[in-house]
Symmetry: C2
Subunit: 258 residues, 2 copies
């Protein structure tokens, strides 16, 4: 069983990408909707919640954990790897590696939550691989609430995006990492504002590719099944959460409150 | 000791109003910053958190509890009153009573979180007192994140406010209840957009007046002290939270993480 957790609903963009790439693998998802969002909270709090979420997924039979949340990946990965025996996959490295691969000017932009940007994790990961890359990160704390409100086509959302992206555009980046699992829902708006020449990297899709490669190399960890189950658990369920989930999966969804 | 809790920082507008009206009463505050916001969450989750917050304050010696959060007041008051022996004061009734007093056209607007508006509590409270009043409620879920970001003077905030307030303006209300303890920080912007003729009601100030009257009638519950202590606890502490707290109190603040 592949275990996936997120602070709430955003991580379902990862779950969906994994479902599409690995349709025959059982998945159990846990969204911590009762404590969402993680992005504005302290590393200590995010680490505590991440431990609890991982324990929940292990109880459900997960043999591999995907931290489908950039904020939790940024601050909690080390603790989870120290504490638990199963493989822990985070969403930062796959996106950072892809950015290094495709950037020609070596000027990479990152957008994410406060927790992610403040951790400096993307800068560290990219510069560890190649110190010549310039990384420009911008925290965009209002994007998660705007996505949750489904304000995807409102004038205010476009203006706020323009304001957030302006300093990155000014730095003439050629690659932009969507460093929050909510942001793929804003992909077209972001592309329009940052310009066509900038390549966007969706950390959800990169992570799913990484998981696929990982399971090819380690087939003993999770078994393929012809009728693989996909269960979606959450610590709370609201109409808004369900709507965002259905927008991500393009199908009716059921969240089991646990 | 007066105990005050909120989902996070917004309830400090109530704490400040209580401090100003009742400077000689000891206060213990608890802000559930680790689980903030409550507004988008389910009644069950908000009730669970409210029980825990009340227990924390009772442990610290509180003899009276103020639910300084409209979302928690809307859905958790009954449970807390059934469960605990101390007086439980909520922020809805004082604001609703004031609205009934001052509205001449009997057309009252309410703005608040999704949880507050969905509960229908303001409508029920006002119409129980007088069924002839028309109450128009509008959920404004983006205002809390905008206040937390300190976007108090940004063009986008003004546009979003105009969008939220438009249907209430259209209903020709003469009184508007700020039904969320964050909203007093947006008072001037709201007044400018809803129009000078509409009277705003700050539930924080109304609640502090109610508490003062209550303690005059029940002096045995909390003792006045010449050197009354004011302690501010929170389940998490972040730079943003501290900044909002300092903006509310106009002084340096310390939050004790517990």
């Amino acid at each position: 069983m592949i275990g996936i957790f997120d602070s709430g609903i955003g991580g379902m963009t990862v779950a969906r990408a994994v479902e599409q790439l690995l349709p025959n693998y059982p998945i159990v998802y846990y969204g911590d909707i009762a404590r969402t969002p993680y992005g504005p909270k302290s590393p200590e709090t995010i680490i505590n919640y991440s431990i609890r979420n991982t324990e929940f997924l292990l109880d459900k039979g997960a043999k591999l954990i995907i931290i489908a949340c950039n904020s939790a990946s940024s601050v909690a990965t080390k603790t989870l790897r120290d504490r638990f025996q199963v493989p822990i996959i985070e969403v930062i490295s796959p996106a950072a590696e892809r950015a290094i691969q495709i950037s020609k000017t070596r000027r990479i932009g990152i957008i994410g939550t406060k927790a992610t940007v403040k951790s400096g994790i993307y800068q560290q990961t990219i510069n560890k691989a190649n110190p010549e890359f310039k990384v420009f990160a911008k925290a965009c704390p209002l994007l998660v609430p705007l996505v949750e409100e489904n304000w995807l086509n409102k004038r205010e959302t476009k203006m706020i995006l323009r304001r957030y992206l302006y300093p990155l555009k000014n730095q003439q980046i050629d690659t932009l990492v969507l460093g929050c699992t909510h942001y793929p829902l804003l992909k077209d708006l972001i592309q329009a504002r940052i310009g066509k020449k900038v390549q966007l990297i969706d950390s959800s899709i990169q992570t799913a590719h990484y998981v696929k490669e990982y399971l090819l190399r380690h087939p003993e960890i999770v078994n393929e099944q012809s009728d693989a189950s996909h269960s979606y658990y959450a610590s709370d369920c609201t109409e808004t959460a369900l709507k965002v989930a259905e927008r991500i999966f393009h199908r009716p969804m059921e969240l089991i409150v646990a």
